[in-house]
Symmetry: C2
């Protein structure tokens, strides 16, 4: 691990990739890397992008990267596909990479694998963002595909959340509404040259009008045709407005407090679960234990209390 | 608490209601009640019923209750509506109660409130089922409305899962498919006199045919018009077949092992979280802690390790 963090801080790309792998796979030294880079983090603008498959998120992200680069910002992308294990589709990061960013040293793209993340994909994404933020990137884009709880948990950790929709979703908007709509700061209606763009825009506005008490920030709705670059300036302006609002209103601090609370709880649960797994519920012991429960020779409440007491006793420092 | 469990075991309905409230609100004595009744549980057939709103679940449940009663079984219903806080609609249990079960002493109906369940609604439902099972009901129906992750978590704990659909769902079947379809043992197409019942049936069968390797149990598909009592015999037969299959194949044991493993983990996490909340993250201390993290004066990884160590030390028996 010697010198890895120093090389990351010096801008060494291979060291950065290695640090991300160490963190993502929870390899030895993971905590040391995170602790060291955490001290340098907290400066990046973290932008989450999500929406249903086929909405054109990667094309839009690519366009936004161009805008940030033109303004002199260094950009990192974390592309997370919670469903990639099932869909077998192209990984998000690859799609951006295939576009015209491969040779630009001011852009770093990382795809997150979905398997085996202790503590969940949201926690793993958080750690990757900490590394990239600590490494000095000005903007970190967190991109996910889909509209389920996993995606909500991942992008809600961003400072600004951009939700990309397309006309023709039909009744699906009802299904999407539940979780993702509540976390959006900016809505993009992409492929806005398609039929139904106007109706979708009206639906979004009437949904937002129903939002109860006057919110401090009313989510923007922007129409784009990302493949032709149309509307990207308006998206960049909406992101910038939200950024200003966060800073001016104190909402950024509130969000970051919330984010740290969540992360702390995740880490505590992860730490406890690790200790638990090491001790008691492995292999044979677990089978025998469950058999006793099924036979009603023991009850789960007493058993849980006993296991907990023994973990507390044996792990006490 | 004195004598409460004895009165529950003697068939005292008011004592049963009180025991359920004690457990649901996690009042003092909750663990003692659960431990005592757990010893008497494990005999009931637990049947989960779920499906989208408007599918006619309550009418179907009511019809099934009639069948079970006619066979001499005592039936308890746990009606859980994870979304009732938002929808404000009629609570499931009330709908069944309004039908013709109010005066039958062999039927007990309990609606679960959704607020404030430490450890989640699924764990609270589990505990309620343990109480009713321990109280001697032959059949416990767990009914939920909706097709989200909450509902999946709740009904998957049942021995047999019945999913109720209606024709005319359109593309929604795509959305439903993800979680709920995988846990169904019996599909009911209710309101089967409506247009599209045949198409829905074919869609289900082709979905089931894609299920990969030959499963030990192929979910049944049954058409009903529950409001006229049509098809209820076929549903009862499918439930009975599945029950036989569970017993004969050893799958019942496997399910119950899995269920106990899940419950044990839930209880361990609940116990640990309780200790954590008591100690450290309350009120002022938490605010100061988060402020230090936001200012990068501390990092969350070290902070989590310190909190965990202090909880382990202070709570060690």
């Amino acid at each position: 691990m010697d010198g890895l963090v120093e090389r990351v801080l010096a801008g060494d790309i291979r060291a950065l990739s290695r640090a991300l792998s160490v963190v993502e796979d929870r390899r030895e030294g993971c905590r040391a890397v995170l602790k060291a880079l955490y001290r340098h983090s907290g400066r990046a603008r973290v932008i989450g992008i999500t929406g249903p498959p086929g909405a054109g998120k990667s094309t839009l992200a690519n366009g936004l990267i161009g805008r940030f680069r033109a303004a002199g910002s260094r950009v990192a992308v974390v592309a997370v596909d919670p469903s990639s294990a099932f869909s077998g589709g192209a990984i998000l990061g690859d799609r951006i990479r295939m576009q015209d960013r491969a040779l630009d040293e001011g852009v770093f793209i990382r795809s997150m694998a979905t398997r085996g993340h202790m503590g969940g994909l949201a926690a793993a994404t958080d750690d990757a963002v900490t590394v990239l933020d600590g490494a000095g990137y000005d903007v970190v884009l967190v991109e996910t595909v889909g509209v389920g709880q996993d995606e909500v948990d991942i992008v809600r950790e961003a400072d600004t959340v951009l939700v990309v929709l397309v006309p023709g979703l039909g009744d699906d908007i009802q299904a999407i509404k539940a979780g993702i709509m509540e976390i959006a700061d900016v809505f993009v209606i992409n492929k806005a040259d398609r039929e139904g763009a106007g109706r979708l825009e009206r639906e979004l506005h009437s949904m937002l009008a129903l939002a109860g008490e006057a919110p401090a920030w009313t989510p923007r709705v922007v129409k784009t045709v990302a493949s032709r670059g149309e509307g990207l300036d308006a998206v960049a302006a909406a992101l910038s407005d939200h950024s200003d609002h966060l800073a001016a209103s104190g909402a950024l601090d509130a969000r970051r407090h919330q984010k740290h609370r969540q992360r702390l709880w995740n880490l505590l649960e992860e730490g406890f679960t690790e200790r638990l797994r090491r001790r008691r519920l492995d292999g044979h012991a677990e089978g025998a234990l469950l058999e006793r429960l099924v036979r009603r020779e023991a009850d789960p409440y007493t058993t849980a209390e006993e296991i907990l007491a023994s973990v507390l006793r044996e792990e006490a420092p």
